[in-house]
Symmetry: C2
Subunit: 200 residues, 2 copies
């Protein structure tokens, strides 16, 4: 089996949410697994000089309209959260801890967190909310609460963000297939073509 495909996303990114709902299904027919990497786009934006879409004139209004439209087309729960965007440090730390201790629960946790934020407007960076979401996918509430405040897991997230930036990741979603980068939720057609052709 080939190496897993790397999927980078921010828990506060609408296009990351839309991509997360599809990525594993899209590449499964090619016999490929997906390794999920929640990151924080703040540092990437500092580096690239970008701002959150919603803060950009014209593009911000368009994006709000586009997210609602995409959610409708994909039949996914959607309501623009307030506040938005948020730093999802604890959500991302919880993901990495779960992926180390109970890996089968990691993607269900991530999808539950995404739905809680973009479906219900939950404050998914609050420690209590993180614990609730983790409990909802079968994890021990207190163990998660303790884990996301340890120096080890804080360092794990910092390392993941640094590694993503070093690989050229600058947005969410961002997919890397055998070294080939694909940015955006609109590029599944290209990823499929790439996998089908063996990278041409």
């Amino acid at each position: 089996m080939s190496d897993p495909i790397d999927f980078y996303f921010d828990f506060s990114s609408p296009y990351g949410y839309f991509a997360a709902a599809r990525i594993d299904f899209v590449v499964a027919p090619f016999g490929r697994d997906v390794r999920w990497h929640p990151i924080l786009l703040g540092p990437a934006m500092d580096k690239s000089g970008n701002q959150p879409l919603i803060k950009q004139p014209a593009k911000g209004d368009y994006s709000v309209h586009d997210w609602e439209r995409l959610a409708r087309f994909m039949d996914l729960p959607w309501a623009l959260p307030d506040p938005f965007p948020i730093a999802t440090v604890r959500t991302a730390r919880a993901f990495y801890w779960i992926s180390e201790t109970q890996p089968d629960c990691a993607k269900p946790f991530a999808m539950a967190a995404y739905r809680a934020y973009f479906g219900d407007g939950a404050a998914i960076n609050d420690a209590d909310v993180v614990a609730d979401i983790a409990a909802g996918v079968g994890l021990d509430r207190q163990a998660v609460s303790d884990a996301i405040e340890t120096p080890e897991i804080k360092q794990r997230l910092r390392d993941e963000v640094d590694a993503a930036l070093a690989r050229g990741v600058f947005g969410s979603p961002f997919v890397i297939v055998d070294g080939e980068p694909f940015w955006g939720a609109d590029r599944f057609w290209m990823i499929k073509r790439w996998l089908k052709s063996g990278g041409w």
Copy 2:
């Protein structure tokens, strides 16, 4: 017949080039014509606070790679021009003058200009090059040279750019179907779905 679809693009935009090669073919099965509007992204970028992709760290490198890859997938001529991007004021003025006087030549002129820039690196904003490209699609060289320096055609381009900004256009390509906006060369699937469903 329904109103034409509006297609906004900058002659210096790679994604505009890729979209221009496809847009008319994509919507023809739905009985729709396309009205082309070359614009200048400079004013839109000033308004939105954006910079040309190529000047953005990480995203610039990705874009260069993506343009080459997309051109290969679409089997279109491609070589990153130098200088890039450029202000394509005269190219756009020529387009509008041609669309007023010999409308059947306007899209062939636009595609020839795009190929000259992204295929051959031609200086498509130079008056002589504009005249050459126009002559290549059957227009009178001198008439084009004279026309692109008149106050009327200068004003026409300014009006088009202002009208585009007023409609929320902030990038290239940008397509508006019966008031519904679509940004980006990756959104033809969504435009088709929109046309098929009658706008849902």
